[in-house]
Symmetry: D2
Subunit: 309 residues, 4 copies
């Protein structure tokens, strides 16, 4: 049985932490740039309710791209997979997450998958509701249910900052709007998307969401099926094929745990049937993944044979 | 000396007109879709003031992409070529005029030339003035001077319609803004750009502008140097290397007259030292050029040996 | 426990077979074009030695791209993963398997993964030996061990035919040679590669190889570790992320079984810890995968919950 | 009348020479790497037989890409423009001269123009004759006629060296062969092409060829029409739109003289109706053009107003 003591975890964290120096904190908006490059924390949440952790686990950080997989789950529940996959593809791309070129060179201009920005914008566009506020609250309620924590909210400073600077995402939106893949007003979608990305939580919360995915959608506490098993399965598959930006292939080979990262330095992992993982380490490698977080997952995967493959 | 009688011109127009049937009128906005597919008119303006013409020469049409070369002239006058070419390149692309892919694959993300949409948006961005209104009036005044006709204005219906639907241009703008090539508010730039594209004139006016370029910037009537010879020369060069969208190379080989086309079906030609040409034929080929207009220019070029090469 | 009776399997085959009509047999070389579009056969090989099957299981077919994953296993054993991944990447591409464009646009020009042709050519290049003959025999011996059948050989007609027509693969090789990723003589490599692709076997053999991968490299009969567990794991990971050409993402979501297909219509599957699958159905979909074979795997995966995710 | 005295020319050469230091001699084969970075020579050939020159004009160098435009003229004479342009396009590309990506992304895979390597290989493929030897002799005879010098031949060392290392050109050939644009044996075509590129001459010869193009195909001495005016015109057009690699647009704007460069450092210019230019300056800029050669042409164009535009 994998790692059950915080002592073991502390040792691994100390080891993984060393490589944080060779990465770089995201600084495209001031709020992210303030993060401490040396931070590294982890929580592991087991089905029986036990949770072990290491590092500064109270610290909240914004989900950024991790929100893409949670939002996808919500939209799959609401709309069904057939409808969703008429609007976004299922293939990994090999390109950076913010790339626009394939939208032009492929026909039709459907984003290749929901984990690249173009695809994630389409998924967020599909959140049901009559207003940005209502749609955002639906996503937030879903996250409250997943984390069993109704205090979770978004960081206004980060959301505002991203809203003001996300011109590349606007370019993607207008391109998609030109091709009738997105229909709503772009500024409205940007407001919703930047709020979504700015949702804040700590590694304990994140590990709990990972656990729900690991348990095929079942709440570990109440036993309630929060999302259908198929939705959890689809999300975990995307986490393997394109969850770690254009380093997903390497991550699958070296680590083999369905995971989703964000540029704030968070990583959510779901070891099928076993446990959920939440990691925060803001120092990023050149592809935008937490450099110490990946190292830590590599140590865990090797030590406890966690690869699915 | 080339074609001096309207009779000759009428014969050529009748011949060229036949291929209008194999083209298609632009219909991405309703106002353009209303054009008559079979229309074909031409005016040739000589330095001595004489003008011969054929077809329905009173009909006004919007400049669309033809405005790109006029706007470039204005901005070159205002800013100097060094400054302008820090913001936009000088190379033909081989890609469609509205392509975004090269902005991503090339580094830096400077548009390759001012005749593709990305480059034209940068040039329009460089028009001096304190407001959209002031900047647009500067461009309009310049056109009044070039045509010696101060009644020329823009078509509100077309401008509004393009403003509402130009999502691809917005995508280009936001991409450029992300890379700090465009700084102003995108909606403001779009307002200015769509008004610029919606400026209306007839083939007589267009031929007169072509003549000013042909005469190295000199007004044929007053002898005034409206633009420096270098500016006229740069514009004519772009008209050869990238004036006819991604059919410019073929056009240079088959016809060899510096020309600029627009999706409304207009073509402006400048035969260096000799005369200016204005053409209107709204039926387009698949690359967006007036199909009968190109045929007519081919006949003219062959009959009167007008190729520069 | 999954499907244990041939009756069940026959029913599924009959159901899946229907969609063979909407596909097309590969015909770029005559030998492949002779295949019967309606064929569909399957063998499932269990660790205890039992094997169930349906369809014409004696029919031999060439491995084509399925050989890529077997060759990768051999080369990983011989050279170690560090060495191999200096020469070929680990990322899915989103492009067709024979694409050359990314070799030019990415820097360095290392093929993105070993399942696209460019990457597979690099892997074959890495097979140890002093001559094409010696290297090919090493690969064949490895396959004899995996299948426990030393009569397996290659089809000379197919190998010769592919050798004569594989100009696109030659283009890839020369491009890679220009960038010093491949060093040997291209014709020599082409001889080795086309022989490798022309290795023939039936679905029983293929299922047995799949089983060795499923059992982490252990021979089901002798218990011998034919390949290290890490090699089997790496291969299965690639089968998930890029085993089904640029339909791998969709296949992972809908079916979730590590699999590798070839344009002859073969598919090899490895259900981790459980069983190996061999399928032959030469009617292909537009991406080059067996159309009825995929349908059959989908039915199996749904009925017996075989997805890894 | 432009520059008639060698004194003027010597002054300009001395001035232009200074920038040779900031360039780099081609060194992809040893024979080219031996060139003297500081060399710069020019010859200007007038219709009346007069020729002025500066620098070491006796030095021979290989034509490299300059041969593309001469070969194009020969093939246009032999096959007619309709036939030729069924096999190669007329559009500039914006990509480097050795790029392969557009062959894949455009449909059909016809090279965009005859001045990029892919297109030049197609043109060389079209040289008539029953053997490489016979076809090469046809090209050589044509060059003897153009230069009025029957001693011109190719450099065996350079040809052999290029033949051995031209893997990228082989990649292009095989790609084109896969798409049935090239039919002959690739090694045979490579032999012919590398010999063509290795044809040697000095700047006096080169200026004389430029003059024939400038005079619409007429031999300045005998008055004989060596090539039809249309062929000369087409060649000059390509020299403007794509003669200077992917710096052609800038060159057209700044200099405006139809020109073709080669990586040996040669540039051939044709000032329509006026004179031919031959330049040799082996220090190259990053796009592969003679850095001092371009500077020299810029000085000439500005001083004597030589731009066509």
């Amino acid at each position: 049985m994998p790692c059950r003591s915080s002592d073991e975890l502390n040792t691994l964290v100390a080891k993984a932490k060393k490589c944080a120096k060779s990465g770089k904190v995201a600084d495209y908006i001031p709020a992210l740039g303030k993060a401490n490059q040396d931070d590294l924390s982890i929580a592991i949440h087991y089905p029986d309710g036990r949770c072990i952790s290491a590092g500064c686990i109270e610290k909240r950080f914004t989900l950024q791209s991790i929100s893409k997989v949670i939002c996808l789950a919500l939209v799959l529940i609401d709309r069904g997979s057939n409808y969703v996959f008429e609007h976004v593809g299922m293939e990994p791309t090999g390109d950076p997450f913010n790339s626009i070129a394939k939208l032009e060179t492929m026909s039709p201009s459907k984003p290749l998958n929901p984990m690249i920005n173009a695809g994630a914008l389409v998924v967020t566009h599909l959140i049901k509701g009559n207003s940005v506020e209502e749609r955002f609250q639906r996503l937030l309620s879903f996250i409250h249910e997943l984390t069993n924590d109704s205090t979770i909210n978004y960081c206004e400073e980060v959301a505002r900052s991203e809203f003001e600077t996300a011109h590349l995402n606007r370019a993607l939106c207008y391109f998609l709007k030109q091709h009738n893949i997105i229909e709503e007003d772009v500024e409205q979608l940007m407001e919703l998307y930047t709020k979504q990305c700015a949702i804040q939580m700590n590694v304990l919360d994140l590990a709990r969401i990972g656990l729900v995915f690991a348990l095929d959608g079942v709440d570990p506490l109440s036993g309630k099926q929060i999302m259908p098993p198929d939705v959890a399965r689809i999300c975990k598959t995307f986490m393997v094929t394109c969850g770690m930006y254009n380093a997903s292939g390497e991550f699958a080979i070296k680590i083999g745990i369905p995971s989703k990262s964000g540029v704030s330095g968070g990583i959510m992992g779901a070891v099928p049937g076993k446990f959920g993982i939440g990691i925060f380490g803001p120092s990023l490698d050149e592809k935008g993944n937490s450099i110490a977080g990946i190292k830590l997952l590599e140590l865990l995967s090797k030590n406890y044979k966690l690869s699915m493959f």
